[in-house]
């Protein structure tokens, strides 16, 4: 299914006021933008999106329009700069909310309320809006005020504790992992709410705790604790069902291959490829139980063997014999991965200050539609005038005055 050129976009005409910042919220707005919605990010240089202040920066020079961490979640969107501390800027935001079909925010409990944009206030001017709100731990409960990032929620959810080696401290996943769990759930529920609005005309309020979505990913482990009083622990790369199962060194520096033997047939084939058919008869390794009992020894033998090969050659060799194996790709190698290329996993867009760089596409390909990428992430306030004049019908003089009094920054 090669993505077609059919540009019928499902959210053509859908209007979104995106008050979100950092990761989870903006990524939800992005899927709507990718499929044709008009998404307007409300930002401020007085309170910039933290991602705008995080590396990597173009030429390693910090600047609010130079972070490539910020750009990913925000392509295909517009940006208006509004200093919401100013009541006249809040008037503009209010008009934007009245214009929108969907709005989202992720500032943490209480912030939108202080500006007069609680759901209760918003429905007075736009009764059928879909309003989504996401925060670390939800809008109720004793720890609702906690401020942090996706890595905090991954740690609080137990995801750090179960990533690493049993004899070493937990290392946790790379990046703000909870973000990448939470936005899946939030995208799903927002898309469902927009469908409900399409069918019934009714909007609603959605409140999502990023921590709680992570816990659903760990459901079986939580049940195991409640039912069997067992606490999951770090296992390195070992697996309860597969052995051998690990990451082994290949030729060169920091080249690795992941190998997972999933059944006895695969184990026999693997022994043949290794040139050790005797292992499949050796009592130490013949059965799964035996291999588990001697796993460290077995892994060291396998590592001796894998070291002699190029990782890509070995992946091809093992996969051609039906063994699950994959090169541990480094970020630079994703660029050359032929499978991801087939998927159209990224598009390159030209950013006014950063220049051309990649934006990931959603992990689904569709037989009858494709996302539409029309521009890189916006500069802070790049569309302030466009939004004020084209969307909200302000005059040139009014915009000039608003700028003079400092509402537009």
């Amino acid at each position: 299914m090669v993505p077609s050129n059919n540009k019928r976009t499902v959210f053509q005409g859908l209007k979104v006021a995106d008050f979100c910042w950092v990761g989870v919220g903006p990524i939800v707005g992005r899927v709507l933008a990718d499929f044709g919605a008009t998404v307007i990010r409300v930002e401020s240089e007085t309170r910039p999106d933290p991602l705008r202040t995080m590396p990597p920066f173009k030429d390693n020079k910090p600047g609010l329009n130079r972070s490539v961490f910020y750009t990913g979640p925000n392509c295909n969107k517009r940006s208006i700069a509004l200093n919401l501390a100013d009541p006249r800027a809040r008037e503009i935001a209010k008009k934007l909310i009245a214009w929108a079909d969907v709005m989202g925010e992720s500032f943490g409990p209480g912030v939108m309320e202080r500006w007069g944009f609680s759901y209760e206030e918003v429905i007075k001017i736009n009764p059928n809006i879909v309003y989504f709100s996401t925060s670390m731990q939800g809008s109720t409960g004793p720890h609702k005020e906690f401020r942090g990032f996706g890595l905090h929620m991954a740690a609080l959810a137990g995801m750090y504790e179960i990533l690493g080696w049993p004899d070493l401290d937990p290392v946790g996943p790379y990046g703000a992992f909870a973000d990448f769990v939470a936005w899946l759930w939030l995208r799903a529920v927002v898309l469902a709410a927009i469908d409900y609005k399409r069918r019934t005309g009714k909007g609603q309020y959605i409140d999502l705790s990023q921590l709680e979505t992570c816990l659903h990913f760990l459901g079986p482990l939580l049940l195991d604790y409640f039912v069997n009083n067992r606490q999951a622990e770090r296992l390195g790369n070992a697996d309860p069902y597969y052995c051998p199962h690990g990451v082994f060194p290949c030729m060169g520096e920091e080249n690795w291959i992941a190998i997972a033997i999933q059944n006895e047939g695969e184990w026999e084939t693997f022994c043949e490829i290794l040139g050790r058919p005797d292992w499949s008869r050796d009592p130490k390794f013949a059965s799964f139980i035996g291999r588990k009992a001697n796993e460290t020894e077995l892994n060291s033998y396998i590592a001796e063997w894998t070291k002699r090969f190029d990782a890509f050659f070995l992946m091809g060799l093992l996969q051609s014999r039906g063994i699950a194996a994959g090169v541990v790709l480094r970020p630079s190698q994703l660029d050359r991965d032929p499978q991801l290329e087939t998927r159209g996993w990224r598009v390159v867009l030209d950013h006014p200050e950063i220049g051309p760089h990649s934006y990931r596409t959603t992990g689904s390909n569709f037989s009858k539609m494709s996302p539409c990428f029309w521009r890189a992430a916006p500069l802070l306030g790049q569309d302030t005038e466009w939004v004020l004049k084209e969307v909200l019908s302000y005059s040139d003089e009014e915009v000039e005055e608003l700028r003079r009094i400092g509402a537009l920054k």
Partner: protein, 407 residues
């Protein structure tokens, strides 16, 4: 919604079932393979006691059906004529080989949204490659970034890659539903676990593109390329009874946290003189010297080591410090905030004579609240309901199909 997935896709239809969809899990006679995945209720390995199954099949119905048999394929065709969605996670090409591919089923029902979940997608050079969790993480670029420098890259000790793919499948299904609302047509949604799992590598790809640098695993630390050099950002700190995660950085959000930590250290009489001239507690990341950052985190480490996880988290909440405990699964299950929010939901399993605590509502919705708590189905629990009532089969037909081994 017809759910023909195995562990690679069970969560997709579970998400949509929570949102109100009527999901029929189609199991092979004798029960789905995913029922063999532990842990098990009271540690007794049995297909009706899999906690993995319980967690990801809640709110679904179950029928048994052998789609490798001709009669079974006919029944699946009848079911898919009445369905809005079909989810499957067989190896690419398998459904087509049974005459149940997208082309065949959409010819019978042009509104059908057909969602395929696979390791790499339905097309491309890796389409036939095998890839359980570890291999997906490897080829997504994420695995390379996780682990201690002196050891190989390391994965989560619980398979999450296909849960990511399942979440994406739910999203893809809903996007296709919007397309159908406009056009009246269903389509084929092709989800690749590898493709989805490139997302968590987020800024690492940017580091390569913009600065020509490959990020590499650094234990629980993270390298950050800044104007004054490479800063080794520390995140995990040992404390008296475990570890905590503390985020020390600059910018508005982080400065408030730094100031709060600074004040607490002062109150406790911590000697802060080593931090003179480092810029602490107001850090401008663009200006900070890597050696100064080291001094700050060393002192923080010394300070945090005096307390327990609980003491530290209490202070963090009270004072606004960006610190959380590195929770064990037990800590999660005893988390006071979750308890007070009423997050957990007890579900009764009559057959087991037990009530099991589940993770509860994952979003609050004002108009269409998530309020379904039906325990995962038993093997073929809804055979009569679906075959007799929905498809209007006769009891004779049903018993014939049973004898044939089709159901």
């Amino acid at each position: 919604m017809l759910d023909l997935t195995d562990e690679k896709g069970l969560l997709a239809a579970r998400i949509l079932a929570d949102l109100g969809a009527e999901v029929i899990k189609i199991e092979k006679p004798g029960g789905d393979e995913a029922r063999r995945i532990g842990p098990f209720f009271e540690d007794e390995a049995h297909p009706e006691r899999s906690l993995f199954w319980f967690a990801f099949c809640m709110n679904k119905k179950s029928i048994t059906l052998d789609i490798t048999k001709r009669e079974g394929r006919d029944i699946l065709r009848r079911l898919s004529q009445r369905a809005d969605f079909l989810f499957e996670s067989f190896p690419p090409g398998y459904m087509k080989s049974l005459g149940l591919g997208y082309e065949e089923l959409s010819a019978l029902n042009k509104r059908l949204i057909y969602v395929s979940i696979s390791p790499f997608g339905q097309w491309g050079p890796y389409r036939e490659f095998k890839a359980p969790d570890l291999v997906v993480w490897a080829l997504s670029g994420f695995l390379f970034l996780c682990g201690n420098p002196a050891r190989p890259p390391v994965r989560f000790s619980f398979p999450l890659a296909y849960l990511m793919a399942s979440g994406e499948a739910a999203i893809g299904a809903l996007l296709a539903l919007h397309f159908r609302s406009i056009t009246g047509e269903g389509q084929w949604v092709d989800v690749s676990a590898q493709h989805v799992c490139t997302w968590p590598t987020m800024d690492a790809l940017a580091f390569w593109e913009i600065l020509g640098k490959d990020q590499i695993r650094a234990g629980s630390d993270r390298w950050r390329t800044m104007p004054r050099g490479e800063i080794r950002m520390r995140l995990v700190y040992p404390c008296r009874d475990g570890h905590v995660l503390l985020y020390i950085w600059g910018g508005k959000m982080c400065e408030a946290s730094n100031l709060a930590l600074h004040r607490w250290m002062e109150e406790e009489g911590e000697d802060l003189s080593p931090l003179k001239g480092t810029g602490w507690p107001l850090l401008d990341p663009a200006e900070i010297e890597p050696s100064n950052y080291e001094k700050i985190v060393d002192l923080a480490s010394h300070f945090l080591g005096k307390f327990t996880k609980k003491e530290l988290y209490q202070q963090a909440i009270m004072r606004g410090i960006m610190l959380v405990p590195i929770s064990t699964i037990g800590d999660v299950c005893r988390n006071e905030h979750l308890e007070q929010r009423g997050f957990w939901h007890d579900v009764h399993h009559e057959e087991l004579g037990a009530t099991i605590r589940y993770p509860g509502r994952w979003a609050s919705l004002s108009e269409t609240p998530l309020e379904r708590w039906e325990r995962a189905p038993l093997i073929g629990e809804h055979n009569n309901e679906i075959y007799l009532e929905e498809l209007r089969m006769s009891p004779e037909e049903l018993s014939y199909l049973l004898k044939l081994g089709v159901i």
